[in-house]
């Protein structure tokens, strides 16, 4: 199947969206203030009233991190299959098709090369609005390929996770993606190239329990839910209320699990600073390739839909409540 399938449609621009009455105002899920949509988008989906970090669409994320015009998409050639013939209330195959059409990408991840304040990196950004960002064979493969290509090209790897965990419709093979992504990172380690893992809201289950917490630095956005087992599962197990702030970034920072919690507006600069220092060890200066020339291909500009990012569907919510591992 040709790559073009995923990118041929001219998608509505932000301007188009803003013109629709439904999209004009949004309610902050932190302080419940009504926020003018354009303001929220301009503010990197951080509420101007309370600094609540809303979920951010993949392409806004790429745009925020990659130097202008530097992003070259790598992902997209790999497509999911329904290896188990999985059917619940609806066949997995049909579910996939409908979300692919909505998302204009084959699966829940976008990867590509970019520069970040001039530093050559591989970016891997997960799409929570695509079946809850669940990791099946394709997400695992794209992450593995991004890590390996980064190693080949002497780039650092920067991932931004957002996931309900493993994609249970792909059975044990989705579980195995935890090991697959982990072993793929070895290529980077062997070349002493940094892997900076950013955890965004929510990062759960099999993604948290594999590559996402194996960063040389693991940093989180404020207020993100980050866990192995979701709060609902734990509540059902222990039959008692969970502590305030449990499983949120700030809580995990106190528990020693994160290098830092970094507000979104500072993220790019801080990642660049970290990466520069990690690449400045003895004997490594000058070894890495110079920043790459700007790519010929335009950045992937798939759906930039804050409703999708802020809203929910059953897959996503179920995933967060009870992430598959």
């Amino acid at each position: 199947m040709a790559l073009e399938r995923w990118f041929r449609r001219k998608r509505p621009t932000r301007g188009d969206d803003d013109a629709s009455p439904a999209g004009l105002w949004l309610k902050c899920s932190g302080c419940h203030a009504q926020i003018y949509r354009k303001d929220l988008v301009a503010n990197l989906y951080v509420c101007p009233e309370c600094s609540h970090h809303e979920r951010m669409p993949v392409d806004a994320r790429v745009e925020m991190l990659a130097d202008e015009g530097s992003f070259e998409r790598w992902s997209g050639s790999v497509e999911p299959v329904d290896a188990l013939g999985f059917v619940d209330t609806e066949p997995y195959r049909e579910r996939l098709t409908s979300v692919q059409q909505r998302a204009h990408r084959p699966d829940a991840i976008v990867t590509g090369g970019a520069t970040l304040h001039g530093i050559p990196v591989a970016l891997a950004v997960m799409d929570f609005s695509f079946l809850g960002g669940s990791m099946g064979s394709v997400v695992g493969e794209e992450i593995a390929r991004a890590a390996e290509r980064a190693a080949d090209e002497g780039r650092a790897l920067v991932s931004v996770s957002a996931s309900g965990g493993a994609r249970m419709q792909e059975g044990a093979l989705s579980l195995m993606q935890m090991a697959k992504t982990t072993v793929a990172l070895e290529a980077l380690s062997e070349r002493r190239l940094p892997f900076i893992s950013v955890l965004s809201d929510p990062t759960t289950g099999g993604v948290t329990a594999s590559f996402a917490t194996l960063g040389d630095l693991v940093i989180a956005e404020p207020g993100a839910l980050i866990c192995f087992a979701g709060p609902r599962v734990i509540q059902q197990t222990i039959k008692q209320d969970l502590p305030e702030g449990f499983q949120r970034s700030e809580f995990l920072l106190r528990k020693g699990m994160l290098d830092d919690v970094i507000p979104r507006p500072e993220l790019k600069a801080r990642i660049a600073a970290f990466t520069r220092l990690l690449l400045a060890g003895i004997g490594t200066q000058g070894v890495l390739p110079a920043p790459l020339p700007a790519p010929a291909m335009a950045p992937d500009e798939a759906t930039d839909d804050p409703d999708g990012a802020m809203g929910s569907d059953s897959d996503e919510e179920a995933a967060v409540r009870a992430p598959a591992v």
Binding site: M1, A2, L3, S77, V78, E79, P80, V81, A83, L84, F86, V87, D88, T89, G136, S137, V138, G140, A144, A166, M168, E170, G171, A172, L173, L175, M176, M178, A179, K180, T182, V183, A184, E186, G205, G206, T208, A209, S210, F211, A212, T213, L214, I226, C227, F228, A229, V233, I234, T237, L242, P243, F246, K255, G256, A318, A319, A322, A324, V325
Partner: protein
Amino acid sequence: MPLPFEKSIDELEARIRDMRSFAEEQEVDLSGEITALEQRLATLTRDTFANLSRWQRVQVARAAGRPTALDYLARAVDDFTELHGDRTMGDDPALVGGLARVGDTGVVVLAQQKGRDTKENIHRNFGMAHPSGYRKAMRLFDVADKFNLPVVTLIDTPGAYPGIAAEEQGQAWVIAASIQRMSRLRVPAVSIVIGEGGSGGALAIGVANRVFILEHAIYSVISPESCAAIRWRDAAEAPSAAEALKLTAYDLLEQGVVDEVIEEPIGGAHKDPAAAIETVRVTIERAFAELRSHTPDDLIRERRERFRRMGRFLDAA
């Protein structure tokens, strides 16, 4: 105690027993009748177990009386001696570790232990490890590497424990770290799923050069019950979920997740634990006999390649 689908087998066994004691007490010769019944029993058992639904296999995998990890450690390897502690915060009884011997070679063993009765189940947290258990595993992987001791892991867990302390102590972090640590082992590693291979908590000690599974064991990304609750919004649909998840030994062999299925005695390992344990012993010895000539670099490369290949997708490029 018999599983629902074992009822006719159980009844037939009872009849044979009765007939035997009757024949003995009354000193009559019923050997012909008994032999006929025994043949029927064998056929019935074979047929029943050859045609188990996936949900029934889940029940066998979890059956009371099925040999647990410590049963295997007592008899499928020699000289097992337990080592305790994660050197950090505790000693997790749900994940047992220690030294043992296979042939003339010292090995490091790690195994998830479910209870054999209610009291032990509580002590072992039903085989659900906390981060401390995985930290102990990683500590013993270090011992294995330092002393060139091959690693055997026995997998039997509903999953890593989902609790407050477990989350606070970095359950996700240690599972990821244990997967990574095991992938870096410079010694041969063999994993055997002996009962329930429950998601990440199982995989954390399952990144081996050879992964075996007992015939009636399962290995799954999520329990059928949880899967049903999420995807069907009804936990009672667990049998449907088990069907959909394709989580039985032969399903996993077909998917390439395991390398080999270890046959169980007819009627399942719980019918003849000694025989099941002996088969596991032979399997471990065979695997190490084959792997011991591989160099550390080869072992790492092979293990990485094994897991790097996992997955099914369409590649348009």
